[in-house]
């Protein structure tokens, strides 16, 4: 039996034919990084390979590590392997990794979603023999509403808060989710009427916004909290910040405010109440249950290996449908706040 094209090593996924790792958890000589979220992009690698739009984000997050770009969809020889990157639709620059060795093709999905997102490349289905998929939201209860409908709910909430004299704080992961929320709100027909002044963003979000704008993503103008005119310090505002900011001194500067989490986890009331004890809006950068099943089908893979989240459930469903599937046990992070 030939050696598997991709193996699980203690440090993470490894491609023996190319002698490189994919999203390793420990420092390695050479790593392909699918996207710039902290649980995939770790510091200390000798060299990083990434998509064109990921590069600036990785250099921002991991200063000092050299990043080489692999242009989208272009096949590069690495040892006995041929490797290419394809958009995963998770956040700006997020990539699936296609690895071909001796005419056998494997695809590592990384994190991905199927919903349209004005702030990143659209997911592209890549045919393969073995598909390694994530399973963060692999349960039938996870199904995402239309982003436009979510934007309507968010704007209604903002308007209600303002009527009560309160500011509105949207808690969203600073890389990807925050930009998507901004863009989705901005393109809603009622955005101008409800939002008025530019949205206030936390510095962590502002830094990523700049990188998105540099990459040509159309984001509405935003401002920092310091930029509020002195006379308007008490007027209700709309702000976006990463979840860790909740309850911080920065958040206190918003004055009386309501907060809301923006995440796929908000689908479940118990999780919403535990993480937020407040309002939750359902906008996820991962595939929902129908999205996972559709993607696996479109890949045409003979075999599916499942990582992250709920591999047990997805594996059993696939097996019952006659697809060879197995959990890929490895050093994955447990499902985090990001989602």
């Amino acid at each position: 039996m030939p050696e598997p094209v991709i193996q699980v090593r203690p440090e993470g996924l490894y491609v023996p034919a190319a002698d490189l790792h994919i999203d390793p958890r420990r420092a390695v000589r050479r790593a392909i990084i699918t996207h710039a979220h902290a649980d995939h992009a770790r510091a200390g690698h000798g060299r990083i390979l990434a998509s064109p739009t990921s590069r600036a984000l990785l250099e921002h997050r991991l200063p000092g590590t050299p990043v080489s770009v692999l242009p989208w969809r272009t096949r590069h020889p690495f040892g006995k392997a041929t490797i290419s990157l394809h958009p995963a639709g998770h956040v700006l620059g997020s990539a699936q990794v296609r690895v071909e060795v001796d005419r056998e093709t494997w695809v590592v999905s990384g994190d991905y979603k199927r919903q349209a997102d004005p702030t990143c490349e659209t997911f592209e289905s890549v045919p393969c023999d073995t598909f390694i998929t994530e399973a963060t939201f692999a349960l039938p209860v996870y199904r995402w509403p239309e982003p436009a409908d979510v934007a309507t709910d968010v704007l209604r909430w903002i308007r209600h808060n303002r009527d009560q004299g309160r500011s509105s704080l949207l808690l969203a992961y600073s890389l990807g989710k925050a930009q998507r929320v901004l863009a989705e709100l901005h393109r809603h027909p009622e955005a101008q009427a409800v939002l008025g002044d530019p949205v206030v963003v936390h510095d962590a979000v502002a830094a990523i916004n700049q990188l998105y704008r540099d990459a040509g993503i159309d984001l509405p103008p935003t401002r920092r909290i310091e930029d509020r005119p002195t006379g308007e310090r008490r007027a209700p505002i709309v702000a976006i910040a990463p979840p860790a900011v909740d309850g911080s001194r920065w958040a206190k500067r918003l004055g009386v405010h309501d907060h809301a989490f923006v995440s796929g986890w908000m689908r479940i009331r118990g999780i919403r109440r535990r993480r937020a004890a407040s309002r939750g809006f359902l906008l996820s950068d991962h595939a929902d249950w129908p999205g996972l099943l559709r993607t696996i089908e479109e890949s045409g893979a003979r075999r599916v290996l499942v990582t992250h989240g709920r591999p047990d459930v997805l594996v059993r469903v696939l097996r019952e449908r006659g697809v060879a599937a197995a959990p890929l046990e490895g050093p994955w992070e447990p499902a985090g706040e990001e989602g």
């Binding site: 349960l139 199904r143 118990g270 535990r274 249950w289 469903v317």
Partner: protein
């Protein structure tokens, strides 16, 4: 129904009591009398008698969503709530409207309640599916919640009363009284509830219970001398209020349930009192001439009606400790010492089987009280009650006048061996734990399950450890490496043939995570058996 869904969502997305009060007040002000009545009924924990079996609902939702049965069960295990799971999976196969048409009353009275008399399963399914089809996700959740019994949303009875008080300008106590005991959701009752005429409301109605607060620091922190306080045993039974009016006797539990039929001997004793008498006390199983263990009372509590044999084997008494109404007059504002003096007189008419006076204890000093408290377990009490002699009978849990000074709990050290994900707010986190001690052969045997006692931060830390140290998985249960030691508190221990350790704990809970203790130092079945001997069960 759309308004009710929005109310639910607003109440569910804030933890601020004042915000909830204002949201509810605004909702009740706009609602029709019938909708307002149903809203109050539902939020105070009122239940609609189950119209459809949950097994059927599960099955229909699973079919409509196109799922295998096990997949629904996995979803349920993660979501932790059946109605919510049903509402979420229905999104996969059943499109719904953007808003739900029709009033809350229409949905309950014209759609939900008639389902109870639909005996044909096919027609029943059709009607439920039609209802689901006319609702969005949140509507399906609320409707299915009601269909399966009730809908709780972190709103206490007291909060509903506050909203009603804000709406009507009536006092809390009047509203609580009007709402207590079997309040039915009708337009007429809504009118009576909110009526500004406060002259009379009698019949079976109980008074709201006054609840004691825990005295954590001991009585030295109390104002006044020991002689300003009435000291009694804190009995280990269930609270009961006996209402004697007209030709009848009603017995109310603290939860606002009528338990009259469960305690015929108490009813018989109560009938010897003159009409217009209300007594507050503790229902206890009685053996020979003293209280029997709580486990005896449990045998009675498990029955809605009691047979002659059980009545003989486990007689129950109401130990009376307060008098709330006398000669048809509400005397709750009189000081306790006056009410007690009257109670002594009242009880002479019926002292014996069924009702007894809870004797005050003679205590000259707090040191003497502390000695009595230390011996409480032998007297089958949970500790002492300290009540200010000059206090009125208040409503609810107000600190200051009534204190419960409980005995320190018993404790043991045990190791965590199984963990299971919790429900509701704790769905997706491992919060249900099974602990073990060592038996004579050196094996670990389960001693208790416990759910509470850790902080949120500790729960998250322990959850992470559990995921990383799982040995085996049995459905939702994980067995973990036997490494983490916890100190458990419990209220009692007895022998039990149903448990592998041969022992059963009463009300076990986690006291501390003993990260400093090695597994070699956990308790053994042998030390616990000694404890059973010492306590003389």
């Amino acid at each position: 129904m759309e308004d009710f869904c929005r109310l639910y969502s607003d109440l569910d997305s804030t933890t601020s009591t004042s915000r909830k009060v204002s949201v509810l007040r605004a909702h009740l002000a706009k609602a029709s009398p019938a909708d307002a009545a149903w809203t109050v009924y539902i939020l105070t924990g009122g239940r609609v008698r189950r119209a459809v079996r949950t097994a059927e609902l599960r099955q229909w939702a699973t079919e409509l969503a196109g799922l295998e049965e096990w997949l629904f069960e996995e979803s349920y295990a993660t979501v932790g709530d059946l109605a919510e799971t049903i509402a979420l999976v229905l999104d996969l196969g059943l499109p719904g409207p953007a808003t739900v048409e029709g009033s809350l009353t229409h949905w309950i009275e014209d759609i939900l309640l008639p389902l109870r008399t639909e005996d044909d399963p096919v027609a029943r399914r059709q009607r439920v599916v039609a209802a689901w089809s006319a609702q969005h996700t949140l509507g399906r959740f609320c409707f299915t919640k009601l269909l399966t019994g009730g809908l709780r949303v972190g709103v206490s009875r007291r909060l509903v009363v506050r909203a009603l008080a804000a709406l009507t300008g009536l006092e809390d106590d009047i509203l609580t009284h009007r709402l207590s005991g079997g309040w039915e959701p009708t337009e007429d009752n809504w009118a009576l509830l909110t009526a500004t005429d406060v002259s009379s409301s009698v019949g079976a109605r109980p008074y709201p219970f006054f609840l004691a607060s825990a005295l954590d620091d001991g009585p030295d922190s109390l104002t006044g001398e020991p002689s300003d306080w009435l000291v009694e045993w804190k009995w280990d039974g269930i609270r009961g209020q006996l209402v004697r009016r007209d030709d009848e006797v009603w017995i109310w539990s603290r939860g606002g349930e009528l338990v009259t039929d469960q305690f015929p001997e108490v009813v018989e004793a109560g009938l010897k009192l003159p009409p217009g008498t209300v007594v507050d006390g503790e229902l206890l199983a009685w053996a020979d001439d003293g209280p029997a263990p709580f486990s005896s009372l449990q045998r009675r509590l498990q029955r809605k009606r009691v047979g002659a044999k059980l009545l003989r084997e486990v007689p129950v008494v109401l130990l009376a400790y307060d008098l709330l109404e006398w000669a048809g007059r509400d005397i709750r504002s009189l000081p306790l010492h006056e009410r007690r003096a009257m109670l002594d007189g009242v009880m002479r008419r019926t002292e014996g089987n069924g009702m007894r006076l809870s004797q005050a204890l003679n205590v000259g000093s707090w040191a003497e009280a502390a000695r009595l408290r230390a011996g409480a377990r032998t007297a089958r009490a949970e500790g002492l009650m300290l009540k200010a002699r000059n206090s009125p009978y208040r409503t609810g849990r107000r600190r200051g006048d009534w204190w419960k000074w409980k005995v320190d709990p018993l404790t043991l050290d045990a190791v965590l061996i199984y963990a299971q994900a919790g429900h509701g707010r704790r769905a997706n986190l491992h919060t249900d734990y099974t602990f073990a001690v060592r038996n004579a052969e050196g094996e670990l045997v389960p001693i208790a399950k416990a759910y509470s006692g850790l902080t949120d931060a500790e729960i998250i830390r322990l959850d992470k450890w559990i995921r990383e140290n799982t040995r085996e998985r049995f459905g939702p249960v994980r067995s973990v490496a036997a490494e983490q030691v916890f100190e458990l508190a419990f209220e009692g221990i007895r022998r039990s043939r149903r448990h592998r350790s041969g022992l059963a704990l009463r009300f076990p809970r986690i006291l501390r995570w003993r990260t400093d203790k090695p597994v070699s130092e956990i308790d053994t079945v042998a030390n616990l058996e000694n404890l059973v001997e010492r306590l003389g069960s």
